[in-house]
Subunit: 354 residues, 2 copies
């Protein structure tokens, strides 16, 4: 009887669960995707026996039992008198949108390649990316990833940025910038947001050609293409200057995709693209600036994706890393503001600014 057993010290359970965590993760994913957990949820407080779960989810009795027992180990379900019921954690695993976006991103984008993490860290290259293609960074191949993988990637990326844009837009547009340069603007979420809300602004977007094709398609669909300019570029080609004369250089969830030496060069190239009196806005999530330890955990986990899948050199940063890089690039920090629960907006001007 579990109730009569000796409890083990917490760290002991913690490391044993860690040792089995890839198998248990797969059980939790399969239990959600097969409907096994939904069948437990449907039983509410009465609970349900494995045979009923199997019947409701349309899986074998064997599959239902294996998945229920895996979820029991994870405490997503509890077992009493032979009947399973959903725990609070099980509810969150089934229904919390952030948990779902993260879990699908990890499963679809990261799981297979993550086994190459150690190689990636030893070589400084994203060794896991070879499961999808021969690219040196994931950004080159983003629009060529298998459709399900791509969906999970973009859903993850947009989930975090979408919430920040409405909060940050008024601050960036308060001085009525006429020309905005969106560095690494991806498929255009921010660019289209700005074009839609400010009828006069002109936006130029720098990114890989695949992403820009999709952006242009999205802009035409929204009738916003007239004030949009796209410039295909490899951002790592530091010999190539950005176009110039911008009131705002915008770098959102961009610089964390680069290692520190490249960030320094990108800041310099961004500064050179400013019109007199212009500003660089950097929107980032720093792991030391999170409202709670879940935000911190997500960013520390995400760094591992950068190592093994994205580029082998970048990570989610500590805010001090960025403050140091900004100073080294000869920029002045004009403001440093929290945006929602996850993001920070750093606004920089060139030293020559008034």
């Amino acid at each position: 009887m579990p109730g009569h057993r000796k409890r083990v010290p917490k760290p002991y359970r913690q490391v044993h669960q860690l040792a089995f965590s890839p198998l248990l993760f797969q059980a939790a994913m399969a239990a959600r995707r097969t409907g096994v957990l939904a069948a437990v949820h449907a039983s509410r407080a009465e609970g349900v026996v494995p045979e009923e779960v199997a019947a409701r989810a349309g899986v074998s009795r064997y599959a239902a039992r294996v998945l229920l027992e895996g979820c029991l180990a994870l405490e997503l379900v509890a077992l009493e008198g032979g009947r399973y019921r959903l725990t609070d954690a099980g509810q969150l695993w089934l229904f919390d949108p952030m948990v779902n976006v993260n879990a699908s991103f990890v499963q679809d984008v990261c799981y297979a390649g993550a086994s190459r993490l150690e190689d990636s860290l030893r070589t400084g290259r994203p060794a896991g990316l070879s499961v999808f293609g021969p690219w040196s960074t994931i950004y080159e191949g983003l629009t060529a990833l298998p459709p399900g993988v791509q969906d999970s990637w973009f859903a993850f990326d947009h989930f975090y940025s979408d919430a920040a844009f409405p909060l940050v837009f008024p601050r960036v547009f308060e001085p009525r910038p006429r020309r905005l340069l969106d560095v690494g603007g991806n498929t255009g979420k921010w660019a289209l947001y700005c074009l839609r809300r400010d009828p006069d602004v002109e936006v130029a977007v720098l990114d890989h050609p695949g992403q820009l094709d999709r952006l242009r398609h999205n802009a035409i669909a929204a009738g916003l293409e007239a004030r949009l300019h796209t410039v295909p570029i490899d951002l790592l080609d530091h010999g190539r200057a950005f176009p110039g004369g911008f009131d705002v250089v915008w770098m959102s969830q961009l610089l964390d995709c680069f290692g520190e030496p490249d960030i320094a060069r990108l800041l310099e190239r961004g500064a050179a693209a400013l019109a007199p009196g212009g500003r660089i806005h950097i929107l980032e999530a720093f792991w030391d600036r999170q409202a709670n330890e879940v935000g911190e955990l997500i960013l520390q986990g995400l760094s591992l994706y950068f190592s093994c899948m994205a580029n082998g050199t970048s990570r989610m940063y500590h805010s001090q890393d960025f403050l140091d890089l900004i100073a080294s690039a000869g920029l002045q920090l004009e403001s440093d503001e929290p945006i929602g629960t996850n993001h920070t907006l750093l606004t920089c001007v060139t030293s020559g600014s008034p």
Copy 2:
């Protein structure tokens, strides 16, 4: 400052950690294998900065930071004033032999194939096994697995059985059995144990030819081959009778490798192999009979290995499943004894026995 932050409710953290668990598992493995955690351990209570960890472990500063931050998310290390130190969980992750055996088994044998868990459960076949070879069960290919994978498999298998053998041997040999049939005897750990300790017993082992070749090699090296008999057999070929006339039929960590219909047939074939007055001994780990919740968690995790890698049909069982199967096979349970902290010895006789 972490200390000033709002703590989130436990289930919330739990599911977010679960969503990132494959990446975090890889970070924990890489932190151990690269020496990053050993470098933190060496710093004892003073703690250590990432730059020193990188230098001691011979990895880049980037690799040290990414791995330390991943281990921070897992609470294997703690960070205070810029210095990392090992937690109690980190100590266990580095040094606990059971945790190490389990984690290497999961990484080397299970990780890649586990992504096929859902397919496996939908088809009743170990879909993940295709990462290693075209076999229908892992037992067919065991001695053809890549060497590192094989080492982790056998280390795992032996870790649990080795501890049980000295405890169980006196009970099985108290009536001085002359002929013992070891069903699925693998590479001979138990057979050689018996031959070494009882100078008169004859042991016959049934298993796949690859395992028996290795067993014979081990027996010759130990000078114990004279009283050893090996019979190559596919245990799933239920039309084929076992050899007969044995005082003991031994099934150790065997029946969990089969689905319930096959277990029923194996029990019948085992019963038919008994001499009058003989006994079937079943040594198993049941998840409801564990001394603590860690034992239960390990067995529930291990069931997932059976689903996606081993055979697609078996799992670690609840003791009641076995008591029901024994009764259905027309056997009588003579005794039911705990062995150490993990195992149970079920001793059965045929209904016709005195």
